[in-house]
Structure formats: structure tokens, C-alpha cells
Symmetry: C2
Subunit: 477 residues, 2 copies
């Protein structure tokens, strides 16, 4: 064989990239590593890299080395934009409970081997060991917390840490303005109960997180779905129209950063417009920033709350996706409804037990938390690229996908109005769980969409599942 | 001095009983101990005891030795019985929030040195050390619980233990019928939301736990107060009348065992009648058994749920008062509303985080829990006797008091329509916090009552506070 050494080396890595062993966005082994691992000269290693770069397979980033480039997915179109002027569906009482029960019942009839429906990262991505140590420290230091009165609003240590961390999101909060809750879900419940009553109409994104539809249904409120762009988030233009035609709109709920299911982030200018618009119309703005910390690039997106000057924005957030899915901690700051929210929290579940709060405050106040966040962001970003790449390769032509810059979700638009309900059922029969688009709206508008989670460690099993899914979609009616 | 030795010994203990150093219901040192401590003969010790017995100061209990007898409090009349035929106040939207805020605001303006307003026992009465160990064991054994998905409805281990423990209360429940909640408060919220809507009317006891009034207010429901006996609890006759005049009554909430604030227990026959009556009228019966485990005599009172054959009773309970005030754990079983309640729980706060549940299951499944309960019951019983005795001694003649057989509360009826609001303010000025009767009703019917907690270790400071309180009451208008 007279293939030059550098080319054989390049081929070796070309195969790795093709099989996915080296995933898009992953770092190539450094030139030094190549030299050491393959016992080649520096110039051979450099030549191999340049060859891969010329082939468009990897790209150099200043001072960071080479990274694998996304391949197929760059060829996909982003998900379709909604028409912000489309006539709105009427505000409706939500009937999501039946859809979700049905979904769960169907899931339970099958053994699931790959769960792509879960909006959470693998347990391995979270700092269980450090949290365990923090719990042990906290309970050793103050065992009486287990049997003494619960501090009101949340433990002062945690509220202090949260107030400090909120600065990075552009919010200036006193610890006293923070209320600790049982997850973001409880926070959103309290926010809605504070500003609206049963029968009232609430504007939500479309598509929207089905958990929010469940909350609205359980509170007997109506949802008005506002067109939402896969790239720019809630259409403020469409909301403005809706406010004109629905003068009794009580509140708007928005997930401005890495929305579920779209993954979109609202541009700063739109966030500012949204805050001002709601203020002008005296409509409460409830912001759910569950995914805010999960940006790819360590550049935090500001909260809409940071444009709020009158207390019209209720900001809700969570430690669920970023730190500890098993601890059920969230928090909120409720602006001008703060005392009403505190009253409702007390009447609904009393204040949160302190132990977990102290442990989490300890961890969140440390540098280890920042290191964990960077790691988690990198990990989720790579996994998102991997899932997207697999979709691009295995799903039929015409599949569309917008690439979020954070979060752990991908919103896939199937070509030719294929039914995601059908795809869901067929996938389930093969042990693969996905979230069909129908779960993200009161309407059937998203029937040809599906949501894939990128939170799980990307295993060969997941790679296989995505290939299988691709052929199910290709053959679906 | 020729006072015989046995008489000097008797005088010594007579003084101790008078000062309260030896409290009512407390055990006298055994005859052997007297022999050893005072270096007297067995016959001298026996003679001294017989003398105290003849004086009515102590009483012998078979195989347990001598106990200090209650003195003054036996002379007090029980609190007045309500007239079960009195015309009901109209069902009303609750306005308790203002009263409670006002109460809290007033409390916050004063330094409190003795808190008799708190319906909880001293932290020292709870097994903090054992719970700490159980927490550490649980987090060491399964640190992934902190970062993994939360098991639905509650952790299976805890639900198993609760189902076994429920047998003692006469309930036969499968673990699957149990839902773990954030305290009894969340359970009662979910129960009310499951069976009723805003605007609906709910029958409650009168006087009633103000926490329940807060819940009703926060849910926009109306309260209909049903006369309740300080001895026998909710008047089923009065409820029957109310059901005739209020055909749209949606639910009844009852605290059948050691009611807050009365401390009363419904007789079994009344519990059975209540269950049957609600069933017949198709009105949901919500039972709050927060204090059920706190019986003086280790004889558990059956839950009303044990008379339920059709799923019409929702049973709610808590580990707050009996095990761990700082852990915020409660549970419920919702009969025919079970799946609706599970849906509401999921939409309201998701299911409870597992770690604390595993630790509590570990402890509640052990013999140590039974030992703790016996200790706590004995302790609280003695403290209740001590507080009652102090009330009997220091409050003006005409003060009335029913003696509960469990729980940690005393409901004191002041003579001559004295205002408990005034007593509250004057006590507060002296650093003593009590709960005025006005907080236990929508009406002003209980303005001349106050609730005293007996949960705290009976210190000389508390003894002093009760003396002070007595003179405040004596001088009140
Ligand atoms: C937008 C959004 N909000 C809230 C939640 C849940 O929040 P938590 O688990 O903190 O209650 C989720 C989880 O899926 C979510 O996607
Ligand atoms: C009758 C009654 N129910 C419920 C509660 C509170 O229950 P938890 O702390 O378990 O939410 C109390 C506490 O004061 C109470 O007295």
C-alpha cells in the first residue's frame, strides 16, 4: 500500500466521524495526542488534520483545537415559521388531560427501551455525589431542621444564593423577594392563581409545554395559543393582535429561553417589547425560565423580568433541569403579587422544608456548581448535535429542524404531513418513546411534529433507535 | 421538732406538687426510690405515700405506682356545649386572611419569649437524631435519588409503611391507594379541589382550624360552620339540618380525632353516622386526621374512613405533629376521587421528592417509631395536664376548659365574655403569644375563647407566663 501515512490517519478519523464515534461538535484529539497515540510525526498529524479540515469534516477554533463539524443537519431547513397574522383559534378550556392519560396508558402497555420523550438529562449528568455530601453536611450540622419550624418563604441561605445568581440573568432581587417552591410547576401554579381565576383566559405559546396546559386545565382556565417562532419565540406582534381582540386576557405565560418544545430564545428586543406590552395592557406576564441556565455557550440569556420596572412580571424557575431532578426545588419572584403569592403558597402547601434547601444553597454557592453547569452545557450541546445529526441522516428528505442554542429538546417537523401519532405508536411497538406533537397544543396543528429529548447520554442504543425512528417516519402515512 | 419523719417526707412532696415541680399526671418517685433518696425505712416511705394519697394529692395505679392527681382543674367546668339547633350563620366567603395577617403583624411588633400559639411540640420531643441517621443512610444507599426521576404518587417504601400503619386506624388500604403530599395542608387542598369548585359551599366544624379557613379563602370557597361540641366533636344532628337547608353543600371537612382547637374526639357511633349521612347525601367527606396518633393512651381512635364502603371519604394525614415538623410530609387516600387527586397533585407540584420519604419509611417501619410515639404521647399528656392545672389555678373563677384525651391543644373559655383579642394584645406586650378565639371562625362567636398549646416542654418560664396570663384575663374587660 502506498497510501501516505497522513492519509491513512485521516481515513481512520473520517470513519469515526461517519459512524458517529466522533460526534458533531466534539473535540478532535489534539495534534499532540495524535502524535502520541499513533506514533506519527508532528507533521503527519498536522497534515491529517488539514486534510479533514479541507474535506469539511472538522473545523479549527482559535486556541481550542479542531472540532467535528455538523454534516447532514446543516442541509436541513429550520422548522416552518408560523404566520403571525393567522387568525387565532378561540380561547379554549384545555382538554389535555385525556391526551396525556392516553399517552401514558399507551406507553405503559409497552416495554420502553429508549425514552426520547423525557425532558431531562441522564442522572449521570448531575452531581449526585456532591449533592449527597452537601445533604450529609447539612443534616449533620443542623439535624434540628428536621423537627423544627420551617422558615417562611424558603431558607435564607438558599434565597441569598438565588438572589446572587439572579444578577447574572439581569435581575436585581433582594433575597426577601424570592420564594422557594416545589419546582417551577408549583411556582407557575401559584402565579396563575395569584393573577387569574377559573374561567379566565391566559395567553400561551403555541406549541407549548403540555405541563402548562395541564396546569391550566386543572385550574379551569382557558388557553389562547399565540403563534410562536421556532427561532424567535413568542410572536409579540401576534400577542398584540390578541390583546386587541381579547380584552379580558388575564395573563401571558412565556418560556423565553430555550422554550419547550421549540428550544427557541426570544431576542432581547422582543423580550423588552413583551414586557412593555403586557405592562401597557395591565396583563400579568408569567415567565418560566426552567431552561435558562442551559445555554450552550456560557452566555446567559437575560430574563424578561430584567425589563420589568413595575412588578408586572412574575419570574419562575427551577433547579430541576440544571441541578437535581430528584429534589423538586424551584423558586419565584412575584413582583406586585408577592404577598398574594406568599399567602397562596402558605395555604397550598406551607413553606418548603429547609434541609434540601440548605444543601443546595451550599452547592450552588460553590465553584463546583459553575463547573457542573459548564460540563452539563457542553454535554447537552454535544448530545443535541448527535441527535440532530442522526435525524438529518435517517429521517426522510423534507424533514425540518431548527437548531437551538441550548436546552435539551429538538422539535422535528415531519415532511408531507405525516402523523406523529402514528409514528408514536409504531415507535412504541419497537420500545422507543417519543413525544408526539399533538401533546403540545389544544389544536391538532402540530400533528406532524415530534419532540425528541437530547438529555440522555448518546449510546449506540439511542443511535439505533433514531435510525429505526427514521424508517418509521419514512414509511408513515 | 416532733413531726414524725413520714410526715416531713409527705410535706416535702406536698410542696413539690404545689409548686408544680411535680406536675399532675407525673409519676411519684417509687417507694424504693424514696427509701434510697431520703434514707428512710420502707414503712416510713409507705406511710408518707399513704398520707399524700389520703390528702387526695396522689393516686395509686395498679402495677404502676403513685401518680400526682390533678388538683384545681378537676373543679373547672368543661367548655360550654353549642346548641345543635341554633340557626346556622349563612355560608360565607372566608375573610380569615386579614385576621391572620393582622395577628402576624401584631406578633412581629413584639419580642416573643413564650409562644403558646404554636400547634406543635418542642423540637426536643421529636427523634431528630434518629431521623438524621435515617437520612444519611438513605442518601448514602441511593444518592441517585437526588438526580433521577421522581417516583409517581410517592415512594413505594413509604406508601407500604403507611398502608400497614393505616390498619391500626381501621383502614384497609393498598399502598397504591396512598398518595404522598407536602403535609396534610396540601392533601386537604387537593381534596377540596377534587370535589368542589370556587363558589361552592363546604361545611366545617365551628370552631375550626384557621388553616382550613385559609385554604377555603384561597380557593374562593364558602364556609358553613356547623356547631361542634368540645367533648363529642362535630354535631351530626346539626350537619343533618344543614344538609336539608343547604342542598348544594359540596363537602364536609372534619377533624374527627383531637380536633384543632377543641381537642375533642368524635365517638365511634357518630363517626359511623357521619360517614353514612354524607354518603346518603352524596356529599364528599374530607377527614383530616393530623392529630390521630397523639392519643394519651396508646389506644388509637379509628378513622372515619374505616366506615367508608363506597369511596366517599377522603382521608388526609400528616407526619408533621407526630414525627417531623421540619420535613413537610403528609399523605392521603382519596376514595373515588383518587385519579382526579393524582392528576391535580401532578399539575400542582408534581410528586414528592423521594429521599425524605425513604428516610421516614425506614424510621416509621421500625420499633423505634413506636417507642417514640409512646414517649411523645406521655410527654404531651403531662404537659397538657400541667398547662390545664396552671389555668385552673391562675385564671379567674368561671374559666371553663374541656380536658382532651390527646392532641396538644387546650381550648379555654373565658368567663364573663372577656375579649380574647384584648387578652392577646396585653399578653403580647409581655412577650407571651396565644391564639385568640377569633381566629377559629368566620364569626365573632369565639371572641371569649383562647387556644393554648401544650406542645412545649413545661419550663418555669411557661409556668410564669401562664400565671401572668391568668392575671391579664382576670383584669380584662
Ligand atoms: C417549560 C417547563 N416548565 C416547567 C417544567 C417543570 O418544572 P419543575 O420540574 O421544576 O416543576 C418543565 C419540565 O418539563 C418545563 O419544560
Ligand atoms: C387540623 C390540622 N390540619 C393540618 C395541619 C397542618 O398540617 P401539615 O403541617 O401536615 O400540612 C394542622 C397544623 O396546625 C392542623 O391543626
Amino acid at each position: 500500500m502506498d497510501t501516505p501515512l497522513y492519509q491513512r490517519l485521516a481515513d481512520h478519523y473520517r470513519r469515526a466521524i461517519r459512524t458517529g464515534a466522533l460526534a458533531p461538535a466534539e473535540r478532535m484529539p489534539s495534534v499532540r495526542t495524535l502524535v502520541r497515540t499513533h506514533r506519527v510525526s508532528l507533521s503527519t498529524a498536522l497534515q491529517a488534520c488539514r486534510q479533514l479540515e479541507d474535506d469539511g469534516l472538522i473545523e479549527a477554533r482559535p486556541r481550542s483545537g479542531y472540532f467535528v463539524r455538523p454534516l447532514h443537519r446543516k442541509a436541513m431547513l429550520p422548522a416552518s415559521e408560523p404566520d403571525p397574522g393567522r387568525p387565532l383559534d378561540p380561547a379554549r378550556y384545555v382538554g389535555i388531560h385525556d391526551r396525556v392519560s392516553d399517552f401514558i396508558a399507551q406507553c405503559e402497555r409497552h416495554v420502553t427501551s429508549v425514552n426520547l420523550a423525557l425532558a431531562a438529562a441522564s442522572p449521570a449528568h448531575y452531581p449526585a455525589e456532591a449533592l449527597k455530601q452537601a445533604m450529609i453536611r447539612a443534616v449533620r450540622a443542623k439535624p434540628l431542621m428536621l423537627v423544627d419550624r420551617v422558615p417562611p418563604l424558603g431558607h435564607p441561605e438558599l434565597r441569598g444564593v438565588l438572589a446572587r445568581r439572579a444578577l447574572e440573568l439581569g435581575m436585581n432581587l433582594a433575597p426577601d423577594e424570592i420564594l422557594v417552591t416545589h419546582g417551577c410547576i408549583e411556582a407557575v401554579n401559584l402565579a396563575l392563581r395569584a393573577v387569574a381565576r377559573p374561567g379566565d383566559t391566559i395567553a400561551v405559546e403555541s406549541p407549548v409545554y403540555f405541563g402548562l396546559l395541564q396546569i391550566l386545565e386543572s385550574l379551569g382556565m382557558r388557553a389562547l395559543e399565540i403563534p410562536t417562532s421556532p427561532l424567535q419565540g413568542l410572536s409579540v406582534d401576534a400577542l398584540e393582535l390578541a390583546l386587541r381582540t381579547h380584552p379580558h386576557l388575564r395573563a401571558v405565560v412565556v418560556v423565553p429561553n430555550f422554550q419547550n418544545p421549540l428550544g427557541c430564545v426570544m431576542p432581547d428586543a422582543e423580550k423588552a417589547r413583551l414586557a412593555a406590552l403586557c405592562e401597557r395592557h395591565q396583563v400579568a406576564l408569567i415567565e418560566d425560565d426552567t431552561y435558562g441556565m442551559l445555554c450552550d455557550d456560557d452566555r446567559l440569556r437575560p430574563a424578561v423580568k430584567s425589563w420589568d420596572h413595575t412588578g408586572n412580571v412574575i419570574h419562575c424557575a427551577s433547579m430541576h433541569k440544571t441541578l437535581a431532578p430528584g429534589m423538586r426545588l424551584g423558586w419565584m419572584t412575584a413582583g406586585r403579587w408577592q404577598s398574594r403569592v406568599a399567602m397562596l403558597k402558605f395555604a397550598q402547601s406551607r413553606h418548603n422544608e429547609p434541609l434540601a434547601q440548605v444543601a443546595v444553597a451550599d452547592y450552588m454557592g460553590s465553584k463546583a456548581y459553575d463547573r457542573h453547569l459548564s460540563r452539563l452545557r457542553r454535554q447537552v450541546k454535544i448530545q443535541r448535535e448527535q441527535v440532530a445529526e442522526a435525524v438529518a441522516r435517517h429521517f426522510p428528505p423534507g424533514t425540518r429542524l431548527s437548531m437551538p442554542e441550548g436546552g435539551m429538546l429538538l422539535w422535528v417537523e415531519l415532511p408531507g404531513q405525516r402523523s406523529s401519532a402514528q409514528v408514536f405508536e409504531q415507535a412504541l411497538a419497537q420500545g422507543i418513546r417519543i413525544a408526539p406533537g399533538t401533546m403540545f397544543s389544544n389544536s391538532d396543528r402540530y400533528n406532524h411534529f415530534l419532540r425528541l429529548s437530547c438529555g440522555q447520554t448518546y449510546t449506540p442504543q439511542i443511535a439505533d433507535a433514531l435510525r429505526t425512528l427514521g424508517s418509521i417516519v419514512a414509511n408513515a402515512g
